[in-house]
């Protein structure tokens, strides 16, 4: 028993269109079909030129985020019949430039993400290259950042953020959350470097808790929480009310057999 659903899709072809246009497609929808399945059906049966980005089809890769009935969410884990019984409006994620149809240009987000040092930063290069011990973390230490590691960089939070809507310099919920995630990791030493970036103008203090990022996050990462907690850390640090970060305990030496070092393969794309 298929229901007929009309997809109202915002199209934009950079080679022909000056501005986006809306196009309707009607398709039979079975219970369990996702928005992504519907897009595939349209491409196979009605219009092969429809463009969107997807990869894993199961809410892991973060490629197919789009504005579905006014809410930024993943096309792959949104079932059509859960959100509508007649009309489904699909548009590209707002607050990004559109490359074509439903494909947003996420480059600015990834560049900002790279600028906040999204990796464990350490100064002891010798120990990193030839480890003599392992780091251990307690469950409590792990839970301080575990929630924020589920982020898959889909961009839904930035699409929903009113700050990102007007301020292109604003770092955005995702990079700020990732900065906090590494700041509170006991293995990390890069807090000072990261805080230098996030406490500037258009940084963490440009968040005023509209709360949308946490509302739309498909992975329950809760960026708004991370950002407020980071403000707290910055304030405590500024007022010198915060003790030094407790570094992760070492246990060791490593018991396993060290594997031979593997050379990184050559780049397959031009740098």
């Amino acid at each position: 028993m298929a229901t007929n659903i009309t997809y109202n899709i915002r199209r934009f072809d950079p080679e022909k269109d000056e501005a986006p246009r809306w196009q309707q497609f009607t398709l039979p929808v079975e219970p369990g079909m996702t928005v992504l399945d519907g897009l595939h059906w349209i491409r196979e049966n009605q219009d092969a030129t429809l463009a969107w980005r997807y990869s894993c089809r199961m809410g892991v890769c973060g490629s197919c985020a789009m504005l579905i009935n006014g809410t930024p969410c993943m096309a792959c884990n949104t079932q059509i019949l859960h959100v509508t019984d007649r009309l489904l409006t699909v548009a590209p994620l707002p607050n990004f430039n559109v490359i074509k149809d439903l494909v947003p240009d996420l480059t600015p987000m990834f560049e900002t993400h790279a600028s906040i040092f999204p990796q464990i930063e350490r100064t002891d290069v010798q120990e990193m290259e030839n480890p003599t011990a392992e780091y251990i973390q307690s469950t409590e230490e792990l839970e301080r950042y575990l929630q924020f590691t589920y982020c898959m960089k889909c961009g839904c939070c930035i699409a929903a953020c009113p700050g990102s809507a007007t301020d292109r310099e604003y770092l955005g919920p995702m990079p700020l959350t990732q900065a906090y995630r590494y700041n509170v990791d006991t293995r990390d030493d890069g807090e000072k470097k990261r805080n230098g970036v996030v406490s500037r103008a258009h940084g963490v203090f440009s968040c005023h808790y509209a709360g949308e990022c946490s509302k739309v996050c498909p992975k329950g990462v809760d960026p708004a929480r991370a950002i407020q907690l980071m403000k707290k850390e910055l304030v405590l640090g500024y007022l010198r009310l915060k003790g030094a970060k407790k570094p992760a305990k070492l246990v060791g030496p490593p018991t396993g057999e060290a594997k031979p070092k593997i050379e990184a393969p050559a780049f397959t794309v031009e740098q």
Binding site: R200, F205, G237
Partner: protein, 124 residues
Amino acid sequence: MNKSGNWILFILAAVVVFVLLGLHMVVVHLDGIFGILSPAGGSALAWENVIQRSKSNFFTVTYIILLGAALYHGFYGLRTIIFELGPRKAVERGWTIFLLAVGTVLFIVGTYAAIAVRTVETAL
């Protein structure tokens, strides 16, 4: 540039404004209900009440503190909004200087008035 200090001051100013402006609201705008601090009776804005408050040390000091805190909070907030409307990088500094100048002028005007009024004749 680190914004933490400015932001903490912005929040502190908000707390000061909350307390002092709350008092101001109770005295001036809810005078019909509370009727306090209008020593001469009647409206809080009647001349006799205004001049009595103006001449008290407590009100002079709190007026100036409230003025400074409210101006800082207001203009820092306005600057935040302007910056988040995405002006070009080159004009951001210009905005900061402009808002700082306007705020300073208003602070001088208000402080001058709060101090000068202490020498005004009570009944003229």
